[in-house]
């Protein structure tokens, strides 16, 4: 198992979990989101191929109302 931080909270995931599988697990598949991994943008096109690693810090964001 690996431990990753997603939007500030800690999650335990199986080894070799790809980003797309993590998003599926979080109920975010098909949602319009953007993702930052360890401070760098991770393009959507890489979600299926990129595997998460122990200690990764992820930010998953969307658009909300604001001024």
């Amino acid at each position: 198992m690996i431990t990753v931080s997603i939007n500030g909270s800690s999650h335990r995931l199986p080894d070799s979990t790809c980003v797309a599988a993590m998003l599926e697990e979080m109920g975010l598949t098909g949602k319009r989101i953007a993702l930052e991994r360890n401070g760098e943008i991770l393009p959507r096109s890489l979600f299926a191929s990129q595997q998460l690693e122990d200690g990764d810090t992820l930010e998953v964001v969307t658009a909300v109302g604001g001024g």
Binding site: I6, N7, G8, M26, G27, L28, K31, R32, I33, A34, L35, E36, G39, I41, P43, R44, E59, V60, V61, T62, A63, V64, G65, G66, G67
Partner: protein
């Protein structure tokens, strides 16, 4: 005659830009945005609510990028780094969209801009290919520096964010406008329709507001009022107002042909 607002080479017929925060629900947000006539609307970037309300519509479904020019902001950022990261996420979220609103705040109480961090972020973002509309103080020197960095619009405050205090320093706004070669858009401080009209009469290229509409008792009606105020103020600016004088020896009605006076 066309009187378009041109930002980064793109024409807009509305000079009113509106935020999408603080509404009671998405229906009110949509109705207010429609009533305002705005074509450019600001949005915020926030963490997804993981696993919560999976069926809930998203803001981008209510206000689609096909219909509006979305202007992602960096509200809530207190450092250049956080602002840059937020806008890189926004660009990814909006499929490469590069027009953004940069704001880096100085403290959570006043929400006054931190111009040092703002300048640092503007340099990074412009170099990274963003088209930056920048919220700043009404300091004309800072405004000029932000323009020289390559920002596509300068957006000084009229008074503090959410204060509704109106146009507190029209003289500084005039100094900024006199020097600027890019649009100057008053961002923050407008409280009611007359404030928006005054900003436009001063010669500002546009007005950006959120709380003045969302915080009104009837937001949709206020959105309509703001649309009219911005249009009226723009027309008055272009028409050129009469000079002010203490009194006039020139009445509006003819001085000849007045009937005989019965007084002596």
């Amino acid at each position: 005659m066309d009187d378009n607002l041109i930002i980064a080479g793109k024409k807009y017929s509305s000079r009113l830009l509106v935020g999408t925060g603080k509404y009671k629900d998405f229906n009110e947000t949509r109705a207010a945005v429609e009533a305002s006539g705005a074509e450019i609307i600001t949005i915020a970037i926030r963490r997804s609510n993981i696993g919560q309300n999976p069926g809930e519509p998203s803001l981008l479904e209510i206000l689609p990028p096909s219909k509006y020019t979305l202007l992602p902001n960096t509200a809530g950022c207190y450092s250049a780094d956080d602002a840059v990261r937020t806008l890189r996420l926004a660009r990814e979220l909006l499929d490469g969209h590069s027009l953004v609103k940069l704001e880096v705040l100085g403290d959570p109480q006043s929400l006054y801009p931190n111009v040092i961090e703002t300048i640092a972020a503007a340099k990074t973002l412009v170099a990274d290919g963003f088209q930056v509309m920048v919220y700043t103080s009404d300091d004309p020197i800072v405004a000029k520096q932000l323009e020289d960095i390559g920002c596509v619009a300068i957006m000084p405050l009229a008074s503090l964010i959410g204060s509704g205090m109106g146009i507190l320093n029209p003289w500084n706004l005039q100094l900024i406008m006199e020097r600027a070669q890019v649009p100057v858009i008053v961002d923050a401080g407008v409280g009611t329709a007359s404030d928006a009209a005054i900003a436009m009469e001063l010669g500002c290229d546009g007005v950006l507001m959120n709380t003045a509409i969302a915080g009104a008792q009837l937001p949709v009606l206020m959105a309509s009022a703001m649309r009219q105020a911005v249009e009226a103020g723009r027309s008055a600016y272009k028409a050129g107002r009469m000079p002010k004088k203490l009194y006039s020896a020139s009445p509006s009605s003819p001085t000849a042909g007045i009937i005989a006076s019965t007084r002596g």
